[in-house]
Symmetry: D3
Subunit: 131 residues, 6 copies
């Protein structure tokens, strides 16, 4: 079995929030809503969150590529919150802007023009993060 371990982040959430207003608002809302979910203490939700966390650890694939895969999945399934999350995580792991754009290109070609409104908003976040 491949060993899994926590990746090393180059930037903290706080640094991301200071760099990008879009990221800051997203992270604040996410934190606030996750507190509501945590308070509910639902057994299966907690287990799902746990699997979700484990999926993106360093393993056979470097964490940064798995975050970009999460970004591709999020963009072709068209979820702005999920796109924001994986763009930020990828940024925190040192992914370059060109790498982020290439991942989004995969989602654009696989998912089609219906992805474009999400790509536009994703590029706004990229512009702030990589300014």
């Amino acid at each position: 079995m491949t060993e899994r371990k926590e990746p090393t982040y180059i930037f903290s959430d706080k640094q991301v929030a200071e760099k990008s207003e879009i990221a800051r608002r997203f992270l604040d809302t996410r934190t606030r809503l996750n507190e509501t979910v945590d308070k509910a203490d639902n057994f299966l939700v907690k287990r799902f969150y746990n699997i979700d966390h484990n999926t993106y650890l360093e393993g056979a694939l470097p964490a940064k590529y798995k975050e970009l895969m999460g970004l591709v999945a999020s963009a072709c399934l068209r979820c702005d919150d999920c796109i924001n999350y994986h763009v930020i995580q990828s940024y925190r792991l040192g992914v370059t802007r060109a790498e982020q754009e290439e991942a989004i290109n995969v989602a654009l070609v696989v998912g089609g023009s219906i992805v474009i409104p999400h790509l536009r908003r994703g590029y706004e976040l990229l512009a702030e993060l990589y300014a």
Copy 2:
């Protein structure tokens, strides 16, 4: 701009087809149907195929990770043909089985249990290719 170039394949389609019966049937059908599409000579379809081809070239991201991103997108959008295609392409580029499984895990967690029937069929192909 990032330069793009054709990736170097370790295995040919022919070698893949000799190794796996599932792959052979998939590639045969795909070739036969693509001939029907080619014969139609539709301008926009040809341009779309061209963009599609360009998306997975070596670039800012190594081709193998982009094929795995194509696999993640295919699995979370639940398209068996597309899963077969990207599993085969990844295999041809030297991706290990453990790496393929981790990419599929991202799709499973993002896309949910509705992905499982496709994961099962994907694992059957993996078992033949990596036997």
Copy 3:
């Protein structure tokens, strides 16, 4: 043929709106927009609304379970408005919070982590309704 009849609601929309600010805003917008749709008087839209209404009546299955099924469908197809609607309808029919959470769990597991942003917002509504 199974007889269909209107379910008995324990709470009115007005009571729901007084209990939850999220519900109030949702119901107000929905009412306002439905007036625009009604004014258009489109024959097929009216017939679709009619079938839609009939689907959730008491029948072979109790109405409360059908509202929860509507919630599962809404959550795994990821529509916040539809989630709000079925959470509210279920609440009006006396569904407990634990029952709502278990229905959402089905959607989470079937639909995957892409459902989570909607689950978070759904839990915020649940927190207000069951406070």
Copy 4:
């Protein structure tokens, strides 16, 4: 209110089945399965089938363009049976092959490369019908 009326078909299902083996097998299976559905005599299913039928009648838009819209919707939602159905209906209404291809192009661009396996199979049917 726009008046609705049945469109005039240039070809019957029987003629279509004689022209294309793919169409014949599709229509046979569809007829057999619809008999099973009819036998069940489910009230809401019958009403849904009725709305469905009404949607494609001649109206403000000519029936042929609505069948092509059904084709676009089917292709971007990736349902082979639905694609077959609307390709056949469009053919029966005198739609040309070039028109069918342009409708499929809209679905390809909106829906992305995930549509391609369905486009390939659709082109196989087109090749038989317009031989």
Copy 5:
């Protein structure tokens, strides 16, 4: 926290397979492919299967309604394998045919006519199981 426990099945998989040829073929393929997945022994897949199993246990909601919710989710996300699975599980738990049809109606209305090809195949299975 709601206690979870295994539901009591009225019929075994074997009895289902004897009653319906469609069910037998589905269960055989599923068993065979799951063996391939089990052999791979992927940590996250096993944990996902475990959560999936837990989701449908008796809890705040009776298991039979959760299986029907799984059916609704499967039908509106349009996965034949998943529909077969939840129709069979619901049948094994004593769900009546009328109840299965009402659950499918929710999926039909929420998910639209794109669900119909799956509904047709689902009705074929229902016809065999409830013969």
Copy 6:
């Protein structure tokens, strides 16, 4: 090969924005975000935009029906931005309100009640444009 050419618009974006506040806000945001995308100068995104533009030109099918097909695809894939865009483009090409409603009906029946929240918002835009 069918010749393609630019369609003749009856109304400019500016006229649309003066007629409808919803349209004005949508077009402003779209313009602003497209500038961000343009600045990034991503090769594949530009080529995708180019194919996208070509898809809706006058061809075998009149541009107005292709815009309506884009509307159907957008509505059944449930993208508000895309719906707004194609409603506006159709309006600019002289499509009547009755024609727009019939196209949306196709999306409603194919895509189901999950389309309704988008239909409601689409009708609000229609009401402003055709006031």
